[in-house]
Symmetry: D4
Subunit: 255 residues, 8 copies
């Protein structure tokens, strides 16, 4: 049973507060030997647990997908390999895999018709930053907010960015993704009056040192209203952007 | 004339749209030779221009304070030295200086009675982080939000933090300030479901490398909903926290 | 002949002190051309020589296993590849390989029934740290101490850790293993009054720089009673934890 | 009243368990505005709270010394400046200051006659490392263990070290302090079978990068049984060495 | 005698080629014990020798100024302190010192009326970059090119820059000076079709690491036509910009 | 239709200004979903858009080649793999691939007979730097300038360089390419009076750290007239050298 | 014809000085298009040209081997792959390849009977350092000096080293090779009174950062008479050791 | 009594072997509490003990000078401050201080007339490197070798160096000192066939990072026969150069 259903039943009276509490109490700290699944996470934070697939053993990954599916009726995994997709698909034929973002998800019925709320702009400096941007954008959508994609607007061709400023300014929060010199965050920070979450990417060559150059640029930004997440961490940026967007639209729960 | 007054007059009809536009047009890019003051900044972003005092020549600093005072009726400066305070005080006896935060401000009449809105928690790991925390907290208050101070709750004595969790969870946004190992952000990130802005500080000794250790810890945090600003950048964290709090309370302007 | 047997025979009188000395004198600095095996190591330190398998040529590895087996009746190797396991197995069918910890060992008869003494807690922040943790835990057990495993208790879900505090506090020493932000060591350091050995791991992505981020966090810890070993060095942590545990239980020899 | 006295009174019956609990309950988290003093620390960890003097404002430092003196009857501060010594002396004429270690302490009556237990060796590579070594040694003595000082035995004159090996081998734990190339820890690690705590120091010049070179050497040591604390952190090394020594001598409390 | 005069006399016939050669032959490698002055430098490169004053002993500096004045009739020194100015002024009352750029120069008669050729734009991101910019601009002017100053046009207020684009586009070369995130070079690189020389500056705080952050941003720029000189090296940028401008205006000599 | 042809037709009257404007207006920001092709780039900068092939998906690469071929009649790509060459060749049999420089190009008819103007010297320290040098040299030639190759003249055999000095001194600009210690740029900088663009390369081993050592050497050069581009960025150096050479020969357009 | 033979003929009168000069003049800067072979190198430095095989294309490598064989009658290459060995062997069946040192050599008749002069000690800390040590030792032997190998004497088992001190002290120069903490150089530096050349190696794991840790240790050594070459640069150490040994034995030429 | 005199007396028979042994036995490990003076150092290594003055307390420095003077009749100290000079002079009026090299020495009678043997070239890139060069040159002279100074021959004016090549080539060993890009070592390495000891210096600005840039350049040198000592370590370079020169001139003792 999903948490929302459980709460609905409480609201409708078909489940007593005590019964609901009992069900919930069984959920936290699901001990799986190699991992502890957090069954009350969505209740506590408004965000269901998400699986970081990279490096997980096949059997472990499957067990986690199974258990989360039982608990929530949906599963959302990031950094999945194509092999992991094929492996999970044997058990869950309905699983969907996006090669660009490397997201591996099982939707609950009706998830696709959900109305997304508010607006978050997701901008990239180049085309090579798109995989990270899609991880951010799809995370945002999974958690119920609307994402507007504005790609390939790097500062070395500033007119491309300026032609889209109005769209960016309408968002409640901007996720800005760039590698190499990472200057896009500063320029956008100066153009909007909403929080900007900057994501350095590891793409590039030479003295970019796996994303360190972009990270340093973004951390040192002279523009106001910018904060930075880890290199290539599209998921983290999407998560925080959703928190901010929910505050703006006046709700804080997964709808 | 302050922007708000100008707009009020337009609303009341005592100033035509054209006249108002004419006044505003004169404001942007006030060229001062050594600097360009941004007269439309508050109108555009909801935040008045703030002065970064550190390293400014005495004469330049005074000119900037004078010009901003003429435009806005108030001035807010960060990283001011005691000498700069005494220098500005000769011309503006009403200027106030806080030695801890190093903020040097001239308030407009009534500023102190202003009602602060929403709630932002400002937490520090140790007592040495308080100067940065005060820069954040007073910035938050200057821009019209309420700041709750929770100091000296570092993770090596986790019970100190846990005893204050309820207060932190009520805030719309949490500013977390820590030096050395900087682990506080991760722990708080796991305890709240609101955005956390992490500020590494340069205080400490040994292998902290001027704040780099805390910066790396915070950027690598496994908790969700954390983003990082520059080392010692209390102002930047306070600014972004205000943006988020304004979104939460449903307004976006300096009231 | 194993050292303990030799000493037992001396004690029982079946071997004179002079004979024993003669046997032992032949042991040190066993020159193998490409390496010098330390035959008196266990006598001198209470710890038998352990093989670092990684990068060793097949023939060299086998010779070393053969020689140590002759001298001690058991062999313990770390960082072994699956290929090395298969290679050694051809000669020693009884060899055991653990794919998680990559430990490749030949036990002496009765080793498995040995009573383990004292108690060392081995904690990890995430599931990805388990290989390093198992290297530590199995090293601890090999050298005769008891290891209690407490995995996946990272600080971004502090309640998972707090629910196990009582177990951790009972240990004579705590090995704490974490990658990325590495904050677990500081939190545990504040919760126990026994020595904490921190092991940074290289797992993760982005700005973790192969474990450097966790290393810096741990070295800068503000908690007392923490010291750090090399990135991914589970063996080294297990070794030192055993030294400490032996001091606590009042013995210092391999039993 | 000191904790030990309180417990003694409970044992003797002159104080009921309930009364003792009431007194203790008042102690934790002594809120001093700018800091939280940990009144139950000694009870919980066996180590009284120690003051890190560096960077503390005069007034704050004095308040902390006063409060800890009230609670414990003794105060121990590290990294104190000569100015801080003179400042505290005005209020506490009995305070003692050691210019080498920069330790500023108020002893309780009888502290100097206390019998020190066990044995910890404190070794330095050069004479420039002595300030850090004295911070470690005096911390060890303050917490009730015996420290044996072996200074200026750096590896570039290995005979100096070898002539003292027997003394070092008798200790339950060895604190090894070195700057520049920091090789002493590895050599000692190979000569003893007890835990070695390595402290890199920032003294030197050239490519030592404020102690980073020694830190890297020590972390990469190929000897077993070595763990590393922060650059110049003599206090931290002395603290952990005391924990280990207490385990070896069979007690764990401040006697 | 200045080189140009010498050559003019050769051209006019008042000095034979052999005589001129004799005079010139005496000039190279003027050995001053502590330094080798390069008397043929202007002849060989079109640029007279310039003095890097920083760190030079008073007596040495004066000797160098005297000798260069004898050879060329003018002297140009960078990174001079106020003390050095006062010291040189005692011997050369006509020396001029600019506190912002720290340039200490003796002009030849008529130098100030010289017509400057071509056009080089010198842009800064902030006001704190002006000292480096002035070092570049005055170097450019000293070597005979025209410098247009465009200061405080950092990318966090992109409209300030865009309002000056036309001026920048008219230059033959652009010197771009910025600290902290250093993003200005990329934006300008995308707006002009002339070479851009980027100068990172060390001004700022936090994770700028003395200019390293800006250096990395600029080196990693995705815009075309950008190359980078050392941190704070205004002189070097001005020198190379002059070389380029001379190529554009069709001459290559100091006029 | 190529831009030059279009302009020629305007000049000849066979196309009205309005018609030309209409055609051009359709060109900028060609939105391809995953990328924005810059159709007016050549018009604006005198350099046609160049494709950075590395990491591009097959389908995307082909679309970009097709679109640029339509627009300009030629395509120039850098960092192409052999696989990408074979892939593009299926559609464009006339495509040419150079394995050394990894340049993948489609020429317009007559491109090969074009007269190259001015002169740029391209020097390398060793033979391993030749791939980067060829990327630079062929870029220079593609954009219409003449490149003179002077390879394997590293400073550890200074006579090899000195024997070619006269050729280098005749160029309008020198591209200097070196890995490891990267000292070649300084030596050449002291031998010529034209701008030197230095390219660090990542070739080598040991403490070269992927080109960082050469980058630091070049940035710190004491010679005048040197600026540095990113590690291995032969294209960027060739681009800027072309800009400078065009200024010298008095033209600024692709002829 | 080899240089020595040529000179012998001059001495014997079978070749006039002029003829010899003519032959030699043809040799320098043998231009091979992609490389410049230095035919007078042995004459000038006493060391024949050596080939750095790594990364060279097959055809280029073969041409170089052929040309050097023609000139000198022998070829010596370092960092050769097994593939390169097989490739060269097709043309030169007498070529010899050593898999450990990766040296690929063609000897001249009689080379193996050559008497080696003087003595150089080559020491390693561990067995993993042997490939670098063999590169050094075989280079030493190729250039005509005697190499004594002392392997696996790392400082964590100092007795292994001390048992060989007498042999090391007899050498004219010591090459010391170590990875990880690299402390061996300091200990040996304190035991001998001859020059020590230290070679950091990249072998190891964790925070060794590809050899940087050992490099920093060695550069910061407090022992006298130590200098450091690049990471893994066994050839460079062998070369310099030979220079020193030749000075000691009173000759400086390849005999 | 000096060691040489003692040995001479033994040779002449005025002192028995037993008496000499008795005198010598008293000398090693002179324990001074804070330091261990090495009285047999000269006997063992051919080099008397040298004092590193920097950071030594006044009283300690004086005691060390007194004791070494008693033992050897002369004292040689490096990195002395002017204050230390004045302090030592009160007790030893004959002490000499050189402000450039910061060497503080007491000579034995006749030291100045000593004949210096062999030849070592000491080269600097710039004038700012002279203090380090003088530390090297005077160390060389103190230990009895001849030093030839060749200053200000940096590679950006290669003709200055080439004009002195013949002098450099005559030396048995070359000490090469350079800051910033440090390229001088590579160029000299290619010009001579004797060992080159490279010393990076910390002088400069910008991205030289306290000498790290020059250190990296020198370590990565492609020239043969170069090894590197620590940043600013003129003494260490002079020491090793003397070792090499002594080997070349056939002796190894302080004459």
């Amino acid at each position: 049973m999903e948490i929302k259903d459980l709460l609905d039943q409480v609201k409708k009276g078909s489940l007593s507060v005590e019964e609901a509490e009992g069900i919930l109490r069984k959920r936290p700290f699901e001990e799986m030997g190699y991992a502890k699944l957090d069954g009350q996470r969505e209740l506590r934070t408004g965000f269901a647990e998400v699986v970081f697939c990279q490096g997980k053993a096949d059997e472990h990954l499957l067990s986690i997908y199974k258990r989360l599916y039982e608990m929530d009726g949906r599963v959302f995994g990031t950094r999945a390999s194509k092999h992991q997709y094929e492996w999970i698909r044997e058990c869950f034929p309905q699983v969907k895999y996006d090669e660009v973002s490397r997201i591996l998800r099982i939707d609950a019925p009706g998830d696709e018709e959900r109305k997304l709320e508010g607006c978050i702009a997701v901008c990239t400096a180049g085309t090579a930053d798109i995989p990270v941007a899609e991880e951010a954008a799809q995370t945002i959508e999974y958690f119920g907010s609307k994402a507007v994609r504005i790609y390939d607007v790097g500062v070395s061709g500033i007119h491309r960015l300026l032609s889209r400023v109005d769209v960016i300014q309408e968002a409640n929060c901007v996720v800005t993704i760039a590698g190499m010199e990472g200057a896009l965050a500063s320029v956008i920070g100066g153009l909007v009056n909403k929080p900007v979450i900057a994501v350095p990417t590891s793409v590039g060559y030479g003295a970019n040192f796996g994303g360190l150059s972009a990270l340093m640029t973004m951390i040192n930004s002279c523009a106001n209203g910018i904060a930075v997440v880890n290199i290539d961490n599209g998921y983290g940026a999407g998560y925080m952007a959703t928190q901010i967007n929910r505050l703006a639209v006046g709700g804080n729960t997964h709808e």
